[in-house]
C-alpha cells in the first residue's frame, strides 16, 4: 500500500485503478495499520474479578506501566472468558479519576483534610493502636482472664485477599483486639 506518494494513495486514483470506492480504495493508512492494542501489551497478568464471588478469570494487560485493558480469561472453567458489566468495567475501577492515591489526614475537630506522608501516617497509627490498647486493656473480666482490649475494632470488606485476612486476624488476635468483623457478617 505504501509508496507512490499521496497522489497514488488518493482514493479517487485508486478507484480509477479499479479499487472499490466503498471498500479497498477508501481505506486510510491508519486503518491498514490497525491492530488490537492488547498485542502491544508489555505484560499480561492472570487475575480474578474483584466484584462478586463467582470468581471470573480476568486478563490484565499492562502497557508502559498502565493498565491498557482488562477482559475475561477464556481459560477459566468458571467464566469461559465472559464478564458482567462490573467485571467489564474493571479497567475503569483501577484507573478512574476519582481514585484517591494520597494519604489524607483529618485532625480532631478539623474542618478539612490535610496531606500526610505515608510513613508518618503509619507511625501515628501505630502510636494510637498502642496507646488505646494500653488505655483500654482488660486483663480480667467478670473474674476471668480475658487479656483483651475492647477499645480497638475492625471492619473488613469481603474483597480482602485470604492472605490479608489472615495477617489481620493474626495481628489483631495478638493485640487482644476481638471486635474484628467483616462484610461476611453483613
Amino acid at each position: 500500500m505504501a509508496g507512490g506518494g499521496w497522489f497514488l494513495r488518493w482514493p479517487v486514483i485508486r478507484q480509477l485503478r479499479g479499487q472499490d470506492g466503498r471498500g479497498e480504495a477508501a481505506r486510510s493508512a491508519r486503518t491498514d495499520a490497525l491492530r488490537p492494542r492488547v498485542e502491544e501489551a508489555d505484560s499480561v497478568a492472570r487475575s480474578v474479578c474483584p466484584y462478586c464471588a463467582v470468581g471470573c478469570g480476568q486478563l490484565v494487560y499492562v502497557k508502559d506501566g498502565k493498565v491498557s485493558q482488562i477482559e475475561g480469561d477464556p481459560d477459566s472453567p468458571i467464566s469461559r472468558g465472559r464478564l458482567c458489566p462490573k467485571g467489564s468495567a474493571s479497567k475503569q475501577l483501577v484507573t478512574h479519576a476519582g481514585r484517591q492515591t494520597k494519604v489524607l489526614y483529618r485532625r480532631p475537630y478539623g474542618t478539612d483534610w490535610e496531606p500526610l506522608d505515608l510513613d508518618t501516617a503509619m507511625d501515628m497509627i501505630a502510636d494510637r493502636v498502642l496507646r488505646t490498647r494500653r488505655d483500654t486493656w482488660q486483663q480480667e473480666h467478670e473474674g476471668r482472664v480475658v487479656r483483651r482490649t475492647l477499645g480497638i475494632a475492625s471492619l473488613g470488606g469481603a474483597t480482602l485477599d485470604n492472605e490479608e485476612n489472615y495477617l489481620m486476624k493474626k495481628l489483631y488476635t495478638a493485640l487482644g483486639a476481638i471486635q474484628v468483623e467483616n462484610q461476611a457478617r453483613i
Binding site: P11, D20, G21, R22, G23, A25, A26, R27, S28, R30, T31, L34, R35, P36, R37, V38, E39, Q69, I70, E71, G72, G81, R82, L83, C84, P85, K86, G87, S88, A89, K91, Q92
Partner: protein, 297 residues
Amino acid sequence: MAERMGFFTDTSICIGCKACEVACKEWNQLPDDGFVFEATSYDNTAALGASTWRHVAFIEQQPVWMPDGDPMSHGGPVPHSGPMSHGGPMPDGGSMPHGGESVFEVGRDGRWLMSSDVCKHCTNAGCLDVCPTGAIFRTEFGTVVVQPDICNGCGYCVPACPFGVIDRREGDGRAWKCTMCYDRLRGGLEPACAKACPTDSIQFGPLDELRERAAARVDTLHAAGHTEARLYGESPGDGVGGMGAFFLLLDEPEVYGLPPDPVVPTRDLPAMWGWAGAAIATMAAAVAASFLGGRSR
C-alpha cells in the same frame, strides 16, 4: 477478502446485564452518555448513539395485577403492560398504559424482554452508501466501519441509517458507531461485547454459520411452544440485503425499537436521480421558455 463475520443476538437468553455496553465502551474507550434516569424499565441508555454502540432494550410485558392478587382477567390473552402505541411509562407519570392489545399471551408469569441492539452492518448499508468522504468503508470481514481519521462530520450517514444507529458526537464532530471491533478482528480476537456476554446471547462468527445456528434455535423454540420466536435481519432478501448483525426476537421488531421492514434509502437512488433529471429538464425548459417566450411577447 476474509469470510463475512457477523453477530447473532439471541434475545431469548439475554439477561439484560449490559455487559456488552460496558465491554464495548472499555475496549473502544468511549465517553459516557450522561447520567439520566429515564424511568423506562431498567433502560437508562435510551438508544444507540455516537458513544453507545450497544444498547440493551427492556420491555415489560406483565399481566395487569389487580389488588386482589389476580390477573385482571382469566382465559385468553392476559392483558399486559407492554408498550403499545406510545407505550411504556408515560412522561406525565401514572402507570404504564395497558392497551389490552396483546399480540402474545404473556401468561401469569409475564415477560420481561431484553435485547442488545447494535449496528446491523447491513449488506446494503445506507451510511456507507452515502458517506461522501470514504470514511465509512466495508472491511475484509464484510463489516461497515467508520475511519475516524477521515470522517469530516458531514452528518449525512446519520439520517441515512434506517435503524438510527450512527450519530455524530457532540464536541468531537465526527460520526461514530459499532466497528464490530475491527481492530480486534484484525488480531483474530472476537468483538468485546460478544466476548463478555455472560449467556452467549451475543454470538460472533462467520455469518453463514450464525444463520444456520439461528435457524436451528428458532426451530427448537418453536418446538417448545414459543411460536413467537422469529429472526430479524437474517434474510438476504430484505430491504438492506440482510444484516451482518441479526436477531432472534420474541415480539415484533418495533416493540424493540427496530424498524419492522427497513429499506436502505439508496435502493431508490436511480429513481431519485430520474426524478431529479425530470426536474432539471423542467428547470431548463422553464428558463428557456421564460427567455424565448419573453422575446415573443
